[in-house]
Amino acid sequence: MNSPSAPALPDVPSGMGQLWRRISAIARSTPTGSIGLVIIALFALLALFAPWLAPFDPVKPFPTSVLARPGTQFLVGTDGNGMDVFSRTIYGARYAFGIAVPVLLFGLVVGVPIGLYAGYRGGWVDEITLRVMDAIRVFPSIILALAIVSATGQSLANVVLVIGMLDVPVFARLVRAEVLAMRAGGFVEAAVNAGNPTWRILFVHLLPNCIRGAMAQMPIRMAWAVRVSATLAFIGVGIQAPTPEWGAMIRQGADYMISGEWWVSIVPGVALVTLIIGFSMFGDGLEELLDPRRQKGSR
């Protein structure tokens, strides 16, 4: 198996002892990506250690302090139910990752094999796959997700499944394009002539060579999944109000926006925007690293 062009990682000595030098060299070559990764890591820590970091139970109401202002007993105030907004925002990170990660996995597990097979087989299989994938992409994704979730029943699992389905064409297309470029390569022919079964050619020979574009897109797709799931929760599909999910929290505070209790929406909103930006920055950095054409120096 030959790799067409080595990933454009900075040229530093590798080895166990040099690991941190390698990491810092990568960090220096893409500061945007590194900041993004740090943001993601911070939110991941929030999600992991939420019970220890949150000062209050996220769904425990304090009836005597409904809509308390920030800076009182509650760091950033309470919402209309008298629940602590800060604690709820911390717990919200759990929902963000809890939805985005399975969505991404679904998109990869279903989309990548479809792309591999369509690209490898070519002909009418490829043509039909491409048309179906394009048809899915033509729709406004939020509408499609909403229509399916409301028809099939509102549950968190359905939300994950539907958003994941919308990721499938993205990954399938990326992988297919790389397979097409790779199919003419000698190693595929060699693998076929050596008598490998199709699944082995697809997953052992083609997969490692054709996954780069899909990998570079992963953070962007995570950003997208976080955004869409928050939008669905805002509308009230899949996740309902007292759940400490950011989109649902923004909805809770929506009516207070014109009466001045801004913190109910703004605090979870800022968390949401920061995480999305973190994912996009990491994605930009990854693209720079994995796509040699997009490197700063070459321009």
């Binding site: 048309r131 179906v132 048809a135 033509v138 729709f139 509408i143 805002f234 801004w262 054409r293």
Partner: protein, 340 residues
């Protein structure tokens, strides 16, 4: 222009399978899982007589294939069924609300498109300078803002804090009579009627939601335009043009002409997505357009309307892509040669 005619014809023929796929999707929508299509379409308030009428209209006692053919026939006749929430035909309900959404999305995307493409081009021409850094930063920020949060944040700043914007409640002040219906856009209609107060009110109400649409549209467009223009700038012909000493404005024109086709293609895809984003935006601003109507129908389970709405959205997408193809033909004569 025979070539244009053939391209339009080809486009229409190519759109048919997509339309059929969409019809299959909306047809399946009320039949997936253990759903009873009669119950889904009739709604919880339907009488036995209404249920029988629906069963007869859609031939629901026949095999599924016959049902689908009947469904397609009805759709092409313009019969999209009845909304059980309003008791009126779906097609009329949708078309009545379409202008409000078109007004919002088209005006917003026009502003966002001009700003986004301009900033993206400037970014590429001044790569890694101050303008580039700022426009990339703003693009990143805009991309990170979900429509729901952007809308609410703008309402908070411009309505509550600064008190510059009118309240986010509908398309025109309640105290002002809406203008005589011509196009369905309050702004255009009041201008036609010469009603100054109505025009000002309608324009004022448009500013914030249009700003949201413009930002949502411009942010990814800046990034894409920049990347596309940089690709063009790295090409051999641009390098040659520069080496040959062509004046800068001419080189810029050359870069723009070559970048315009992929930028347009990307913009068209984004534009179709805006109609989906408009649904939550209209909800926040109580806009009352077709996207909010479709969203409400989805939430209330008014599936005759949901079917119609999804169909309408796909027709809009097909029209957008068709117009894009024609524009590309104008910009790139080579595409016409390839199409035949």
């Amino acid at each position: 222009m025979t070539s244009t005619f053939f391209l339009v014809l080809r486009r229409a023929v190519l759109s048919l399978p997509i339309l059929l796929g969409v019809l299959l999707f909306t047809f399946m929508l009320v039949r997936v899982g253990n759903n009873d299509p009669v119950g889904m379409l009739a709604g919880p308030t339907a009488s036995a007589k209404e249920i029988d009428a629906i069963r007869a209209a859609y031939k629901l006692d026949q095999p599924v294939l016959v049902q689908f053919v009947e469904y397609v026939k009805l759709v092409f006749k313009g019969d999209l069924g009845m909304s059980w929430l309003s008791g009126k035909p779906v097609l009329g309900e949708l078309l009545m609300r379409l202008p409000a959404t078109l007004e919002l999305v088209l005006l917003g995307s026009l502003v966002g498109g001009l700003v986004g493409v301009w900033a993206g081009m400037q970014s590429a021409l001044n790569a890694n300078r101050r303008f580039d850094h700022w426009s990339r930063f703003l693009s990143l920020l805009g991309f990170g803002m979900p429509t729901i949060f952007l809308g609410l944040a703008l309402i908070f700043v411009f309505f509550f804090l600064l008190q510059w914007a009118p309240p986010p409640m509908g398309r025109i002040d309640l105290m002002i009579n809406s203008p005589k219906l011509v196009t369905g856009s309050y702004l255009i209609d009041s201008l036609i009627a010469g009603d100054r107060a109505a025009a000002l009110s309608a324009a004022g109400r448009l500013v914030l939601p249009c700003l949201v649409v413009a930002i949502v549209f411009a942010a990814p467009l800046i990034k894409q335009t920049r990347a596309i223009a940089l690709d063009v700038m790295a090409s051999d012909y641009v390098r040659y043009a520069r080496a040959a000493g062509l004046p800068k404005p001419m080189v810029r024109r050359m870069i723009w002409r070559n970048a315009s086709v992929p930028v347009l293609t990307y913009g068209a895809t984004e534009l179709t997505a805006l109609f989906g984003a408009a649904s939550v935006l209209e909800l926040i601003f109580s806009w009352g357009g077709v996207s909010q109507f479709g969203l409400t129908a989805i939430l209330k389970g008014d599936f005759a309307v949901v079917q119609g709405y999804v169909l309408l959205m796909s027709v809009i997408a097909i029209v957008i892509f068709a117009i894009t193809d024609l524009l590309i033909l104008k910009l790139e004569p080579r595409a016409a040669a390839g199409a035949r």
